[in-house]
Symmetry: C2
Subunit: 346 residues, 2 copies
Amino acid sequence: MEKLNVAVVGATGLAGREFIKVLEQRRFPVGSIRLFDSEHSSDTELFFDHQRIQIEEITPDVFRDTDVVFFFADADVSRRLVPLAVGVGAVAIDNSSAFSSEADVPLVVPEVNLSDIEWHKGIIANPNCTTIQLAVTLNPLHKIIPVKRVVLSTYQSVSGSGTAAIKELTSQTRLVLDGYRVCPHIYAHQISFNVLPEIGLFLDSGYTREEQRIADETRKVMHVENIAISATCVRVPVYFGDSASVHIEFEASMNSAKVRRLLAEAPGIRIIDDCSVSLYPQPWASSDSNLIFIGRIRKDLSLSNGVALWVVADNIHKCTALNAVLILEEGVRKGWINKTGDHRRF
Amino acid sequence: MEKLNVAVVGATGLAGREFIKVLEQRRFPVGSIRLFDSEHSSDTELFFDHQRIQIEEITPDVFRDTDVVFFFADADVSRRLVPLAVGVGAVAIDNSSAFSSEADVPLVVPEVNLSDIEWHKGIIANPNCTTIQLAVTLNPLHKIIPVKRVVLSTYQSVSGSGTAAIKELTSQTRLVLDGYRVCPHIYAHQISFNVLPEIGLFLDSGYTREEQRIADETRKVMHVENIAISATCVRVPVYFGDSASVHIEFEASMNSAKVRRLLAEAPGIRIIDDCSVSLYPQPWASSDSNLIFIGRIRKDLSLSNGVALWVVADNIHKCTALNAVLILEEGVRKGWINKTGDHRRF
């Protein structure tokens, strides 16, 4: 396989660093790698494959001779720079929400809709972590008995808000343990020893953008328009790992034993579910895993066709870094992502 | 009003101490107060109304001359000692689950079913915190449009597991911040910077006893048999305050503005709900309050007759201590709790 030239925007953030680590560990055949970040980045170089790589600032024409550009910055940065990458013939794999809802941009969870990569026109979007957990969980079930409605409440870690949020949880926690009051910076309120039902901007509907995004993205990834999804997203004082309590209503009878069997056979999932010895997925125990963990699988007693379960995955390692690397690996393997200029264009 | 002689079992635990504080603050006319705990209690005396009160061990006949005995120990202790209290003519107000499901034991949330105290036969049960939050929230809505089904996921603080859990959260947190691995004692797994979907023993249904109890108790408090309730109970690294994400399905059309108005007028509730300035209930900000806080009220977009909301209350102060004191105050005021021998008996 011909080596690809790769660039990473937002390389020094939590997600960018984890992506670089995963790319290296999986020995993807990289020709050159260029790392970019804003001038505010605290680091000036990172290691890739034992080489020091300078962190560069973005300038016009910067993506020339690059085959694939990964974006781990916020949506505004992606909106500004993704067109530059696509303009010089590179494929942009974007972790922000900037393009994820556009009809001609595939939104890909490799375990669910890998073949959507085929019709990309230069941009491939990486979904939200909860979307990935939900789509990987629902898809193998929906194929057997259609899913009608999902109610979920999340327990999302601070790493989803980046390095500064990790630092804030640590510093706030120390202050609170020492008896001080704290002044929040990253979140609207104290996150240490507290939970905050606010992730993303609030919409007129009263849902947050994150909550709406989970519903929209899950339907897009699964290619279904009529699954009703209602989410409540909550930030909890956990460093890594997003958890969700998921209550699923099916169109017809579905029992928990069948759900357990279908999920056990599905790709990317490990069942951790033995109540007799208190075994169930936990964010602390899911760090750095390539899998999505599912437990607490039980018939929902409030409904004739319902099943409830509990899902956990590492939001940074699995849902952000690994998902992007898998899109690259599989896209290249299938011939859907190629050297610059070979792929279909806008 | 004639002063009542009061006894407290489990006086040195978190709930017992808080109860004593609230009883004192509200200036309930106490004749004598006797405080009991097991021989393992670390304290030998507590203050009540500036008086030192010795902590006594339970002996036979210990409740003689007592009018009301409050139980803040576990269900086994209540099962053993509540009959002793009732046997000498005292009223037992029990915070455990020992008698809460018995048909001839009223389970009372003063804001919802105060008048159930009237038919007590010596025992009055205090519900689970989440039950109290849920019943206070659902009752004013259910009176207008019947509630059909409720899906809730909780974010419950460690104080619900007592003093040792508070200490464990603190010590684990310090160890984790210093880079050590921790060994859990109170919970099956690390609680610091983690979330655990296990509260109470697991039942054959796959639900925990806590999850089943919330469903059963809410129906009992509200006097309705047909509200379907499915709960997922999760322990989070928070000291005080239980939160719940609640998705309600009504039998007929109900909009979020009407829910907000009905709840704003209902007893015991304060609405904290202004998304434009990130205002919503948080456990950290709800400590020591006498109220149940509700926010994030919105139409559930996955359902035609659905509303979603977020509820927070102080599990120890409001749901345990104050609920028990209110049962006493109101029961006495209405003449349903009297000096020993005056009330109806087994």
